[in-house]
């Protein structure tokens, strides 16, 4: 069934994106494969490097979908909730389906380094390596499935959802850490200087394979057999645990955005908004941002991601984190553009009511822009006002205060442009849905989109940056501070211009957009 679904969805751009992602993955896989063939002076080095490499693949499997908001939802367990299939059979079936896909094939290529490594010792170890390569693939797919299912289960409750956001933030931090580590660790491993790290890596289940193969190669068949048994036991435990989790996900009641809320507590907020069409949309959007878990995840992860992206790279190299932290507001706005650029996808087929209200396209786009600017621009402006002072970089003030309004204004236009021009459907939240699953947006198309909108943001910042640079060169504080009104003006102008483009597109292609976002896969 998964193969059929895949075949049906592999068309045109999507095919290209999957292929692109596959090629990229294949490059990494070939790199790992090479690791299996290279001989080092120190025989343990191969084992340790392979173990580290496999651990990195495991982390990649788990983190990639969370980081890109992706995740493999081709087959959702809920699809099977009504079929009389036992939980073990369902788990096995979905597991098998998990292997059918480009990532699994690519990963298997990477793990092919293990039999290659074994081949150096002879046919026996090579065979054992092959077995372990397949087992490793099973391990990786299973761990990924368990984590995603557990997250989905956790996110079923409101409090759990907040926790999940935190978890993703921490995982994100760890991911960047690992990324940095890999650059420095491999040389150290080759020279045999990272004893403890290597010990941990080889002790992890991902490291058992290389150890076992080497043991077989050196004639310690007992150790090899023990590790094989342990691996099988590990896989069995994971299958069982995952089956139990699945049962919970399949039988739990429908996923609720945020369950019943009291109506009285927002009465005050309502009167603040004018009773105009735009005011009505702003009010609806603010409520939806707050109450819809999927939107909240998209919004709340941006400050965390901002921290990770802006600050973590400077930690290792003896860089100055505080100087970057002063600019956090700018990073948050830019990331929010990426995270929230599918507003109509979030709302799904609800777009019909906008299309049926005569002339509602303009207030709808403008209201969404305003709500976004309030929710993203507000905190970012706060960061811009507070952080440079707190971190001891007051010289950053004119820059941050010029850049944040410029990119926030432009961002409110970009988000709407993305929402109408690059919309894609998300799973209908009325049924089960993991707020982290992003629907059918493959990673490569996302990366292209991110590049495009980064370009737009840079364009938006250019006038303010020009004033800042000129002010710096001429030593003129007046010119430097002039960047602030310039940034404000560019931001407003771009918000108006790009929002207008979105209005026109929505008015002309509304039914087509509805067909796109309304298609619940």
């Amino acid at each position: 069934m998964k193969l059929r679904v895949l075949r049906n969805s592999l068309r045109g751009a999507r095919l290209a994106a999957v292929l692109g992602g596959g090629v990229l993955g294949l490059l990494f896989a070939l790199l790992t494969l090479l690791l299996g063939t290279v001989t080092f002076d120190r025989p343990e080095a191969s084992v340790e490097i392979l173990a580290t490499g496999y651990a990195a693949w495991l982390v990649g499997w788990v983190l990639a979908p969370i980081a890109t908001g992706g995740g493999d939802d081709t087959l959702r367990p809920e699809h099977f909730s009504l079929l009389p299939i036992g939980r073990a059979r369902l788990a096995t079936g979905l597991l098998v389906a998990g292997f059918a896909g480009v990532p699994a094939v690519v990963t298997l290529v990477a793990f092919g380094s293990l039999p290659l490594y074994g081949a150096r010792f002879g046919a026996g170890p090579a065979l054992l390596g092959l077995g372990f390569a397949v087992a490793l693939l099973g391990l990786v797919v299973l761990v990924y499935r368990v984590v995603m299912t557990a997250l989905a289960g956790l996110l079923g409750s409101r409090r759990g959802k907040e926790l999940g956001i935190l978890l993703v933030g921490v995982l994100g931090l760890a991911g960047v850490g690992v990324n940095y580590a890999l650059g420095t660790v491999i040389p150290t491993l080759v020279e045999g200087r990272a004893g403890e790290f290597a010990a941990v890596m080889t002790a992890l289940p991902t490291g058992w394979g290389p150890v076992a193969v080497r043991a077989a190669g050196t004639g310690e068949w007992g150790l090899a057999a023990g590790l094989s048994l342990a691996m099988v036991a590990m896989l069995a435990a994971l299958v069982l645990g995952w089956g139990a989790l699945l049962t919970r996900q399949v039988t739990a009641t429908g996923y609720r955005g945020s369950a019943r809320r009291r109506a009285g507590e927002r009465r005050a907020g309502r009167s603040l908004l004018p009773a105009t069409p735009v005011g009505a949309v702003v009010g609806k959007e603010l409520r939806t941002w707050w109450r819809d878990a999927r939107r909240r995840v998209a919004l709340l992860t941006t400050p965390v991601l901002g921290l990770v992206v802006a600050v973590v790279p400077t930690l290792g190299e003896g860089g100055d984190a505080s100087s970057v932290l002063a600019y956090l507001g700018v990073f948050v706005v830019a990331l929010a553009c990426v995270q929230t650029g599918n507003l109509y996808g979030f709302d799904g087929s609800a777009l019909w009511h906008t299309l049926l209200v005569p002339g509602a396209e303009r207030p709808d786009v403008r209201g969404r822009q305003l709500a976004w600017a309030l929710l993203v621009g507000g905190p970012s402006l706060l960061f811009a006002l507070v952080l440079p002072g707190v971190t001891g970089h007051p010289e950053a003030y004119p820059r941050v205060l010029a850049l944040v309004p410029a990119v926030a204004g432009a961002g409110s236009g970009i988000v709407l442009l993305q929402s109408v021009f690059a919309a894609y459907p998300l799973p209908d939240p009325r049924h089960h849905a993991n707020p982290f699953s992003s629907g059918g947006r493959p990673g490569c198309a996302r990366i292209l989109l991110i590049l495009a909108l980064t370009l737009l943001l840079v364009l938006a910042a250019a006038p303010a940056v020009a004033a800042l640079v000129a002010g710096g060169l001429l030593g003129s504080p007046v010119l430097t501070w002039l960047a602030v009104p310039i940034g404000l003006a560019t931001g407003s102008a771009l918000a108006w211009w790009w929002g207008g483009l979105a209005v026109r597109r929505l008015a002309r292609q509304g039914p087509e957009l509805l067909a796109t976002v309304g298609a619940d896969r």
Partner: protein, 261 residues
């Protein structure tokens, strides 16, 4: 086509509407007049193209060919006037889900540019009549199927349209809610409005509607007053005859009985 003998312009006029998805022709050159003040039933088997036809008629799905007029305004060329005259209840689509019923109606009223006092008053009245006041604090996403149909109907009625287009308004609705909806629709027609509803429940259409059109495989196979279309039989029998089907189910399946003994 449906004739009324009155000179009033039709509430809805569809001319040769056509839509194909890939090689599948969902609606094949359907022309249809819905007389003003009529209670019009659109019936047909599942997959006959009812939803596709109604979506094209109100401006939610762009037709490949043909035109749709609502009170003589072209839906696709003069949408502002056409859309201000029609109220629509689509089938199976989302609403702004994270609002309560009252918030949803207030939002929609203001989006339509209605006066705030009118919006408040109408929202309260609609929620009361549709018995949704009990669920005052429930978000629409937590509504039951029947409640969703009712809040959708409230959304369609809020701006006092002259034509209602309802896609499967009684599907998955409990009997009590169905009775409420029926009463409201009858009152709407009595006060001069026109209703178009789709259904595959013949008895319901026979009981409620004065006009009926039968859609099968994307083609219009019969249309007119209910009495004309059904002839001397029930609408159900006439329908099976018109669609050219043969009520199956009489042969085979012998194993169904064997297990009950």
């Amino acid at each position: 086509m449906a004739q009324t003998g009155e000179s009033e312009p039709p509430a809805m006029r569809l001319s040769a509407l056509r839509k194909a998805f890939g090689s599948t022709v969902a609606v094949d050159r359907v022309s249809l007049d819905v007389p003003a003040g009529s209670f019009f039933g659109l019936v047909g088997p599942n997959g006959a193209g009812k939803t596709t036809l109604l979506s094209m008629a109100v401006g939610l799905l762009r037709p490949d060919g043909g035109s749709a007029h609502i009170f003589e305004s072209d839906v696709w060329h003069d949408p502002v006037r056409a859309k201000s005259l029609v109220g629509v209840l689509p089938d199976g689509l989302s609403f702004p889900e994270r609002l309560t019923g009252r918030e949803l109606l207030t939002y929609l009223g203001r989006l339509r540019g209605l006066d705030p006092a009118t919006v408040t008053e109408r929202a309260a009245e609609l929620l009361g009549v549709l018995e949704l006041t009990e669920a005052e604090r429930t978000l629409v996403i937590d509504y039951s199927a029947g409640m969703r149909k009712k809040i959708g109907l409230a959304m369609a009625l809020l701006h006092a349209p002259r034509l209602l287009v309802l896609d499967e308004p009684f599907e998955a609705v409990d009997p009590v809610s169905a009775a409420t909806i029926r009463t409201i629709l009858r009152r709407f027609v009595e006060s001069g409005g026109a209703v178009v509803l789709s259904s595959h429940v013949m008895a319901l259409v026979e009981q409620l509607c004065d006009h009926v059109a039968v859609l099968s495989d994307g083609r219009l196979v019969a249309a007119g007053r209910v009495a004309e279309v059904r002839g001397g039989t029930s609408l159900e029998e006439a329908f099976v005859h018109i669609v050219g089907g043969r009520a199956g189910g009489a042969e085979g399946l012998s194993w169904l009985a064997s297990s009950s003994g």
